[in-house]
């Protein structure tokens, strides 16, 4: 493994790379430079071990057994919920609903909050930079209710057009559904300010935090939003677990969206009564081990320190931005002033998919494509981008490997000696 150049910010966090066993395995005969963290992050030993330990020592179903193991598993599951509550500073653990991930959390709000309340002509405000998972659930509920979508445009630099946002807010706006951090551009949106403005016109606010929670400290009460959704697997936790934060008074008034065990109080054929939130929204046996893995991941990042992680990734972002801008023919897509550790770019004369294949052969894992944000790609008039996305275990060596691999691709394509035709 190449010894990365140390910087004041780099050195202390890089030690944590050793906590992630997968980073030690070579890929295609090369040291792995894992830069696809926007898709999913790798898992530290602490998380892998916590999930395994649950199955080895504590496995039982929750909320129903009188036996010791069941009570033990229930306590661990409830502790995990409290860990999530503290992590995003919710007022109460009852405001945390475990879901399969961000997508399910948004669908829950669309179907349980939106479907019974929205009527024809009501407006849901979102933005061009939303991930499909914060577009399609709203399209479905619009078809069901007659509500309509309004879309905040994105400027050339990847920032939201805030003047247009102001213009789109109105008395018919019922909900602002907005991403905290753009997965395709890295733009950090001013969600607290936008929440304040949306509340002034009487709208509620859902924030998609999938790309935010692993990279900066998040405080839902400081943001002031009504709902906040995120996935565990982008936060060093297992797949299949995530959480929805919802303000208690809203969750209390929302009907169940899936029926089954664990979400009821009493069941009779003439009348079933439902459990209070959050159980009301967790029908069936939940992903108990996943929730425990998520809590372990939160303990892990909290131990490293969210502020240190943020500072480290910002320093790497600056380093990577300069390095990419120095390569002739490379263009960054998304240059907002406030950005998370996401570098979306195009290399002149090389399609992102060809680039992805060539980088992979060099051990550099990136994402190539539309990043589940087709409307955004259409806005920029491109089929997709190559995207390098950072995590706490990345160092300058990973970005150096990226740059070297891009040079290699350019050499292979001959795009630096011939102007070439851009297909």
């Amino acid at each position: 493994m190449n010894a990365p150049r140390d910087t004041v910010l780099n050195a202390p966090l890089l030690a944590h790379a050793a906590d992630f066993p997968i980073l030690a395995r070579p890929v295609n005969g090369r040291r792995l430079a894992y830069l696809d963290n926007g898709a999913t992050t790798q898992k530290p030993k602490a998380v892998i071990e916590a999930e395994a330990r649950f199955y080895r020592e504590s496995n039982a179903n929750i909320h129903r057994g009188v036996h010791w193991l069941s009570q033990h598993a229930t306590a661990l599951y409830d502790d995990a919920r409290a860990t999530v509550q503290r992590f995003i500073n919710a007022a109460s653990a009852d405001e945390i609903v475990f879901t399969r991930g961000t997508t399910e959390a948004i669908n829950l709000v669309a179907q349980s909050w939106g479907r019974p309340r929205l009527t024809a002509g009501d407006e849901i405000l979102l933005s061009t930079m939303e991930h499909h998972s914060n577009i399609v659930p709203w399209q479905l509920v619009c078809e069901q209710t007659g509500a309509v979508l309004k879309v905040i445009p994105v400027q050339d630099d990847g920032e939201l057009d805030m003047a247009a946002f102001e213009g789109l807010l109105g008395e018919r706006t019922r909900l602002l559904a907005i991403t905290h951090v753009s997965n395709a551009l890295g733009t950090v949106n001013p969600v607290a300010e936008m929440t304040r403005r949306a509340h002034e016109v009487g709208a509620l606010v859902l924030v998609d935090g999938a790309q935010a929670v692993a990279h900066q400290a998040v405080d839902v009460q400081a943001i002031g939003c009504d709902f906040y959704a995120f996935s565990g697997h982008k936060l060093y936790a297992p797949t299949g677990i995530g959480a929805l934060y919802g303000r208690a008074e809203l969750l209390r008034r929302m009907p169940p969206w899936q029926g089954g065990g664990d979400m009821i109080r009493t069941v009779a054929f003439d009348k079933t009564t439902f459990a209070p939130p959050p159980q009301r929204f967790e029908a069936g046996t939940p992903n108990i081990a996943g929730a425990i893995g998520l809590a372990a991941a939160i303990d892990y990042v909290s131990g490293v320190g969210m502020d240190r992680i943020h500072a480290h990734e910002q320093a790497l972002l600056d380093y990577g931005t300069r390095a990419l801008q120095d390569i002739p023919g490379v263009r960054l897509v998304g240059t907002a002033r406030d950005k998370a550790g996401i570098l979306s770019f195009l290399v002149e004369g090389i399609h992102p998919h060809d680039l992805g294949t060539i980088l992979d052969a060099e051990g550099v894992a990136i994402r190539a494509g539309h990043h589940c944000a087709m409307p955004l790609m259409t806005r920029f008039g491109i089929p997709g981008t190559a995207r390098a996305s950072l995590a706490l275990y990345n160092g300058e060596a990973d970005l150096d490997a990226l740059v070297a691999a891009i040079h290699k691709a350019q050499e292979l394509f001959g795009s630096r000696r011939s102007a070439g035709r851009r297909p």
């Binding site: 005969g29 399609h351 060809d354 294949t357 992979d360 494509g369 089929p383 997709g384 035709r421 297909p423």
Partner: protein, 154 residues
């Protein structure tokens, strides 16, 4: 050098770069008797294949669109390969090329000399890229069979 490096060189040969940089028959064909669209929405590859068929012979073939080097080169090589061939032979070539690219060739069948098209076989080692190479061919097939739906290979 790793196996992956070898596979990469198998696929990205000069003929691919050449056809990507300077695709042959890259134009619409106003006199086309057949045409069809192909689209892989996930990667954004999009093309239209035009054919001029007379007396059951493909007299002219061309394409327009955009995509990665593999899909552009595959379309370009395809238009060269089918020009002047009887429709039945073009359909047989479609089947054989498809089998070559997806690694489903019947080993018992007589070997075909694919000529320049052989270079596309390198895509077998890159499962996620096979759809790039096959898109133009499926679109060609749709054009010949008069299928109206857009061809997809993903």
């Amino acid at each position: 050098m790793s196996d992956m490096q070898d596979s990469l060189r198998e696929l990205y040969q000069e003929v691919i770069f050449d056809h990507n940089r300077n695709p042959r028959n890259y134009r619409p064909l106003p006199a086309a008797s057949h045409h069809a669209d192909g689209h892989n929405p996930l990667c954004g590859d999009q093309l239209t294949v035009y054919l001029q068929v007379e007396d059951d012979i493909v007299r002219e073939a061309s394409f327009v669109g955009h995509g990665c080097a593999i899909s552009t080169a595959s379309a370009s090589l395809m238009t060269e390969a089918v020009k002047g061939k009887p429709v039945a032979e073009v359909e047989a070539l479609f089947r054989d090329v498809h089998a070559l690219l997806t690694g489903t060739r019947d080993e018992a069948a007589p070997a075909r000399d694919f000529g320049k098209l052989q270079v596309l076989a390198g895509v077998k080692e890159f499962p996620v890229r096979v759809k790039c190479a096959t898109l133009a061919w499926h679109t060609l097939h749709n054009a010949l069979t008069g299928a109206h739906e857009t061809a997809h290979t993903e």
